[in-house]
Amino acid sequence: MLLVETQGTPPPAPLTLIAREGRRAVPTVIVSGQELIALDDVASLFQVTVAEDAPTGGVTVSYRGRTIVLSTQQSIASVNGRVVTLPAPVARSGRRLLVPLEFLSRALAPIYDRRIDLRRASRLLIVGDMTVPRVVARIDSAGPPTRATIEVTPAAPVTVTPDVGRIIVRVEADALDTSLPAGGTALIDQVRPGDQPNTVALILDGAAGTPRTATTTADGVTRISIDVPSAAAAGDTAAPPPPPTPPSDPLPPVVGKRRFTTVVLDPGHGGADTGVRTADGLLEKELTLDVARRLRQRLETRLGLRVLLTRDDDRTLGPDERAAFANNNKADLFLSLHGNGALGPAVSGAEVFFLSLDKEGESVRRSANAEAVSLPALGGSRRVLEIVPWNLAQAAHIDRSSTLAQMLDQELKRHVPMSPRGVQRAGMRVLTGANMPAALVEMAYLTNPDQAAKARGEEFRNSTADALYDAIARFRTFADEKAP
């Protein structure tokens, strides 16, 4: 009884399983040029049972009364009595049994209730009735105009949405099997997977003008032609009439049937970080927590929402911890509460912020699928910047965050004094990682003697909580109406 002891190396790219339940990475290992998967991983992924018959060197995989018999000696398997070949016999790594990846398509697929589609080239394992068309993008000419083509096979309805500095192509599908150019050319900086599993994003250069797109379907292939002129050229030449454009309704970033249920409130500062201090010693961190609790009570009792606070006591929290808390709890709205400070005592009034995405944000978006970006610094050193894709999560929700900010501004106006600056866009750190509509409210200037005095009182805190409650109630109605 001789089993191959196996160490192996990881594959160049992970295998991704796509199913109705979501997507996940499937661990595999390369041994002597063969890609192997552990049978205990197969067991947990596909709900099969694995039994080893040591004396005969046989391994039995059972699924709903159907069986596959594998051998540790021979590269064959008996699938419900029918023999299929495999590239290698069962191997052993420690206590684990490994089979060639082909086991999934040749042995498991014939007896499995759901379709199993192994696409080795694109590193996809598709389980069940999922629509995963092949999407091939290429840049045809540098131009200007820089010309690109995206082909979707088999044909599927697509929506092309031009956005600031980028074009989002959304395919009506569960996921995409993409083949994208490695780098950019001329006015197209990058073509990369979008923020949703069924989107592709073309990141445009800063010098790009308004792109023109045309979509045609023929011979089972949907073809999107994209022309990106330079901004300068678009300005001084009368642009030729654009080719027929496909419907381009700006779709909401989140597609799903779930309703608005969860709000995460973020009392600003906390712990060692006290925030602004009033002349008589009221701390911003105390005010933000108190108003957050008042608001939570209103939202829970009147709207029946699930309301969570990033901190419900006096503790230090980093910006990423706050956003991650909202993301992990699948919040439908993130609201960060603050008290403002100015260099002069006269400045007063509430302000509302949502995130601004400047060119830097866009350029980080461009490299968002890279693991790290190395930046040169003077003195010969290089700085390696780790890019965490979820940290750019807010970019996908900017439109709704803008709506939320407007509603907050309008409702605050009815209850508390406002600053003349109203709704502002700024690079608010805590908002960058929030993967849902998000805003930051500065409730009052704690450096203004009148506002500082009022901020101590019940009346101001209740009025602010009432205003924020009204805005969130409005936003909930808006979000539910927009939900598909």
Partner: protein
Amino acid sequence: MTELRRFLPAAIGVLALALFAWGMIALLERLTARNADVPAAASAPPAAAETPHISVTLFYATPEGDALAPLRREVPLAQGLVAQGRQILTAQLQPPPGPYISTIPSGTTLRAFYVSEKGDAFVDLTGIAAAHPGGSLTELLTVQAIVNAVTANLPAIQRVQILVDGKEVDTIAGHVDIRRPLTRDTSLVRELEASP
């Protein structure tokens, strides 16, 4: 016709050279003229009387503290982008003339100023975070004053990254993201009547 074509580039070249020379003379005249004004300017240290100065725009909070005011100030002329950047920032860190207010806490010093191959400037400050009074508005004014002081006066620089004690940080006081180089932002700048 062909003769004309041959001579045209040469003629343009001569014209351009003449224009350039005239421009340089004019610039020198202006610089020396400004030099003469320097001793009168309050900001100039007495020892620097013979150092040529240039006029730059620095940014301070308005007396109310709700916006940035651009003020023309004299700083010593320096050799090269990096040296000039240091001069500008050193001046920006100094207290402004009344009634304007500095948006950078007093005690903040410039640790380093350098420019990357990509043309991004790095402003490395020390003492800024601990002393910052906080609040989104004040923090925005602080960040914009630094970024704008560099970009408004050194056109070669489009982006500025603020470092604290030599390190990249999330924010100065908990609000404004400064993890990446920032471009000029004039959203809180309020133009005043021309200052002398």
